[in-house]
Symmetry: C2
């Protein structure tokens, strides 16, 4: 991969339990934050059911459109864990018993005194050509195939796998940001934000109103730039305007 300024990633969350609302997905937020830190733009987060064709289609769409694709979920031992099968099909490679994964799992189950039965051996099935990603929590590995990183869905295990994957990623230019919390409604500052945003293409301004109760509302304004100088200039202009127009902010 040629060194670029910006890299993009997509996150594919695989799991019926998220779509039914039973489980609140927090994995994508965690991954997105980690990407932000290393200058990788998350371009899309997609949650899909445990359905083979849907997984294959989404993987093949998102891996082509992005520098990286992270998937979470569906790599356990049960009948609804079909991520590894689907990824193998997406890449048109065989799903085979990976000897390294097999040995790791065998040792783990010996150590904890559980049977390494045929169901558990399913977790050693890895698409041909993939590299294992260590799972320091419960042994069953994730894997990386080309630009696709396949993680477990359990947050603790996902985090361990992500942390073991960062070394494989190209880092983009860091994005600096400042955040100003303003006692105003958006309509009062929208014009200023637009002109600030329009007059400088090196910054990007986001405006995030919050509205928690009658007495607690306002706007968080976030200014981002890969260049600190532009950020400082924009922040100064914003704060001057706010002071002149008697808005409280912090």
């Amino acid at each position: 991969m040629i060194k670029k300024e910006k890299y993009s990633a997509a996150i594919l969350v695989i799991g019926d339990e998220i779509l039914s609302g039973r489980t609140q997905d927090t994995n994508s937020n965690f991954i997105a934050k980690e990407m932000e830190i290393i200058g990788i733009d998350t371009s899309q987060i997609r949650v899909i059911p445990d359905e083979k064709n849907t997984i294959i289609e989404s993987v093949n769409e998102l891996r082509v459109k992005n520098d990286y694709l992270f998937t979470t979920g569906g790599i356990g031992p049960t009948h609804d864990d079909i991520t590894a099968d689907s990824i193998a099909e997406a890449f048109r490679v065989d799903l085979e018993i990976n000897l390294e994964a097999y040995e790791t799992l065998k040792k783990y189950y010996e150590k904890i005194g559980s049977e390494f039965n045929d169901i558990r051996q399913r977790m050693a099935r890895i698409p041909k050509g993939a590299t294992l990603i260590e799972n320091s929590i419960s042994a069953a590995p994730g894997f990386k195939i080309e630009n696709v990183f396949v993680f477990a869905g359990i947050p603790k295990i996902m985090k361990a796998m992500l942390s073991n994957s960062i070394k494989h990623l190209n880092k983009g230019k860091l994005i600096h940001s400042i955040s100003v919390k303003i006692d105003a409604v958006e309509g009062d500052i929208a014009k200023l934000l637009k002109s600030l945003n329009d007059e400088n293409e090196n910054i990007k301004i986001g405006s995030y109103p919050f509205f928690n109760s009658k007495n607690d509302f306002g706007v968080n304004v976030v200014i981002k730039s890969i260049d600190k100088e532009f950020l400082i200039l924009a922040e100064e202009k914003l704060k001057n305007y706010l002071s002149k127009n008697s808005f409280n902010y912090k």
Copy 2:
């Protein structure tokens, strides 16, 4: 729309702040739960940036593939609020000042003693042919155009708009479910779950391991069916097996 047993919905979350990890999206989880209650299957949740072409493409893909599409975010007054513009383009209709929305906003700003300036008037711009969705919190309405429901991103306002939209939705057959929390690891019960799942096509079994610390792990097994009888039978079989094999559950 012809009355069917099952309806599907997609949720499109529009907002850079979710993709940067700054904000944890909770809207999609809330909507998914509400859909589950009225028998509508959430087929996909997708988070995309505040980019017009991306919004147009996703809206046009998801509205065709699903009975309903809900969008959240991007309908405020600031420069990064481009959802209404994008939806109008997606449907190839004009974005025009909606008189009803205009009057509602005008009255609201009079009442709270704020100026109804040209920036705020932006929020009265609604795609031609759309029906307004009332915003009982801060006046600026959402809207419904064909099978697409356009909601605000602020959770409190989104919830008010969703609640005002439920009447427009066809309800599917209710899904019944039971959940059993088992002191086991997935590998110990995976075979049973598979055979239970395979022998009855009227139920769907999900297996969700949790792993919070060394002393707190297990599996939540969720069995779903639109037919209560099959559910009860499957639950009995599962619990008999668990008892016979000395697994604790509740």
